[in-house]
Symmetry: none
Subunit: 427 residues, 2 copies
């Protein structure tokens, strides 16, 4: 069947709709989400046209796209409100009607029941489809997406909320494209490394010093608080094996700063390490206020290793709930290495876990002094043998300092676990 | 001078260039950056067309934009590499040449010296401009931007890196537009309402039933987990006072579901309410794993009312640390109204605060049963007089259920505080 599909799936265009994408309210993430995934299938997005929720603008944009490519994605405007005009614009361009889809209506009704809401007339509009379209059930929302095939075009209508778009994409669009597409690139010609402990400019410098990357390999950097994602890709028709060699070089250059060799975040990595060891964890947070617990529990199944924690935002709570010494707080201040250490020890003992973590710092923008400026954070990690505290001065404003703190804490725990392994295998 | 400028500055288009914006590597933030700032000046972005670094695509996109509007922004493609073709494409469309600009070359050379690099031929290309353009010095980078005026169009060429774009925008573009634009809106012609307790389709339905909005007023909806931001704006030359009238209608239709009448989030609103009352708060979280504490402490100055909390991810921790009855957990299960209530009471007593909150639920995707499906969450709020628990079934996957839980919990606290006021003023 594959080889017979008559419509070109090599190039696509995207039409994003929504006034909020053009007036500074929201960032348009659709091109990135679609672009990366379509790229993996050998489909290139040739243009992304963002227009307001306006019938004429959408018709004009769609007519333009239809002239240039066969595969078109439209995002947004499928909801219950009057400014949701995507279906109408598409139907108009294709010369079709908009009709109520019974299966979709049943689904929308069930969704509303599930959420304890009554389905009203505006809500029912979400079950309208372009005549002849295949509705694409939306696992995480209400309004279904649609696939519309004409003699020589394929159109996908996708929901605007990024999570819903991703769900419909993964459940329906990518599987369909994989079945129809003739020449999906066989093996990925890129490699991912998640790196902690070295910043972007450290990495650039280190690579320059060591004459990396070799000819034919490109390196791209994706940095956010406390971590860098490195992407190696082989340019053009690089000789086979060159990417493997580059991977080995990276491993020897970066050592234990490499957290993972896949697209993954630290909370998943420490979750796996804890699971492997059947070990448990508890957290004591001050300046991060629960963000560390939040990051850890964002991983499904984290209840098998995470017992919980104390948010000791107030100093009195640090002594009362975590056994931090009053004298130490008076002498060193609440933002100090010893307090972080005692927090990590205290929470580990009280929650009866294998590992404990403590974070205390000044997130800012207020609360800093010359000796202890905003951005100063102490992070500690404890196990049955020891407790280590480290001092950090993180860049950026309040949210960034808190993010850096959480990512760095998780990396400290990772290193403690990985180095334990090393010690055991040597000892 | 102002009133004589001959080119319409009411509508603009944006053309963003760069393959990385279409293959999933980078997110396109230009529309958001420009959109917000232009909106403040009464300039509406009508379309954002993103194309790869390709001469023909850029020429095509620019020709389209020129047909529709007089004010056009192009971003990216001004750098030293061969795929930087923006200037060439613009010059081609306008029938002009690309020329070396001496002042820009001097600036580029100084920049290179400053960074300790030698200016080579590719580097020098950054001083090329479209003949007749006004170069716009780039305070944080190398390549200058350009302003090009023709008889009836104005084009701005802006650097692609977001920091550089913002600098050129603020240093050169916005001041120029402010001088030329005839009718910068004096007072904002829109009103914001943050609403909790009614979903988007409830609102649509309520408004339809009550014949809202009146002629001349448009309503836009920005919904995310647990809250909807309503934006009322007066369309065209609506009579003065019509927006005030619409605001009053909204207040009487939505009552205490209105959280705030400004662009603000719940954590700030409850922070202000707590501060006003000199009241303190503590939290007991299970399925949200610290996210509620994180949201509350994301507000600078939250240490004046938030004491901290317990993350009781494990059932044993709920009894040990919060005094939740073992019998109740056995009888009703850990996900039950009574457990949420006891959590809210327990944390309030233990942390010695005026208010306490408890959340227990099943975030999913695993862990659900037919009686207690994923998405089922109990939230409780306690003060010195009472503790109330409510049952919710939230939509979406793990992260969305957790977000809904936190937003709904904060809204429960808000209502408790606001209704206390009401009771006091009546009693």
């Amino acid at each position: 069947m594959n080889s017979e599909y008559r419509i070109s799936l090599d190039a696509a265009e995207l039409i994003s709709t929504g006034a909020e994408l053009l007036n500074g309210r929201s960032i348009n993430s659709h091109a990135r989400t679609l672009g990366g995934r379509l790229n993996d299938l050998g489909i290139r997005i040739r243009r992304d046209t963002t227009v307001p929720d306006d019938f004429d603008d959408m018709v004009d944009a769609l007519n333009g796209a239809i002239e240039r490519v066969d595969l078109i994605f439209l995002t947004g405007g499928l909801g219950p409100t009057e400014d949701d005009v995507t279906r109408d614009a598409v139907a108009h361009v294709l010369g079709r009607n908009v009709v109520m889809d019974d299966a979709s209506l049943k689904f929308v009704r069930e969704r509303y029941q599930q959420y304890g809401r009554t389905l009203n007339a505006p809500g029912e509009r979400q079950a309208l489809i372009v005549d002849g379209a295949e509705p694409l059930i939306n696992r995480v929302g209400v309004a279904p997406g649609e696939r519309i095939e004409t003699e020589n075009k394929v159109l996908f209508l996708l929901p605007g909320p990024p999570r819903e778009l991703l769900a419909v994409l993964e459940d329906h669009v990518l599987p369909w494209l994989k079945e129809k597409k003739r020449d999906i690139p066989e093996s990925p010609s890129e490699s991912i490394f998640l790196v902690c402990g070295l910043g972007e400019s450290n990495l650039v410098n280190l690579f320059e010093t060591h004459g990396f990357p070799p000819r034919g390999i490109a390196v791209a950097y994706g940095a956010s608080a406390g971590r860098v994602e490195l992407r190696l890709s082989s340019k053009g028709a690089a000789e086979p094996g060159i990417l493997d060699q580059a991977r080995s070089r990276i491993r020897s250059l970066l050592g234990s700063n490499i957290v993972a060799e896949e697209r993954v975040e630290l909370e998943e990595v420490i979750g796996r390490l804890l699971k492997d060891r059947r070990a448990t964890l508890s957290t004591a947070e001050s300046c991060t206020g629960g963000m560390l617990g939040d990051r850890i529990t964002s991983v499904s199944g984290s209840s098998s290793y995470y017992r919980g924690g104390i948010i000791a935002y107030d100093n009195h709570m640090k002594t009362q709930w975590l056994g931090v010494s009053k004298d130490v707080i008076e002498k060193d201040g609440a933002v100090s290495g010893e307090v972080a250490r005692q927090m990590a020890i205290g929470v580990r003992e009280r929650f009866g876990t294998d590992f404990g973590m403590g974070i205390t710092g000044i997130a800012g923008p207020g609360g800093g002094t010359k000796e202890k400026p905003a951005g100063l954070v102490y992070i500690a990690c404890s196990d049955e043998h020891c407790a280590i505290a480290k001092r950090f001065h993180f860049p950026g404003g309040r949210e960034l300092v808190r993010e850096w703190s959480c990512v760095t804490a998780m990396d400290m725990l990772r290193r403690m676990m990985v180095e334990d392994d090393l010690a055991e295998s040597i000892g």
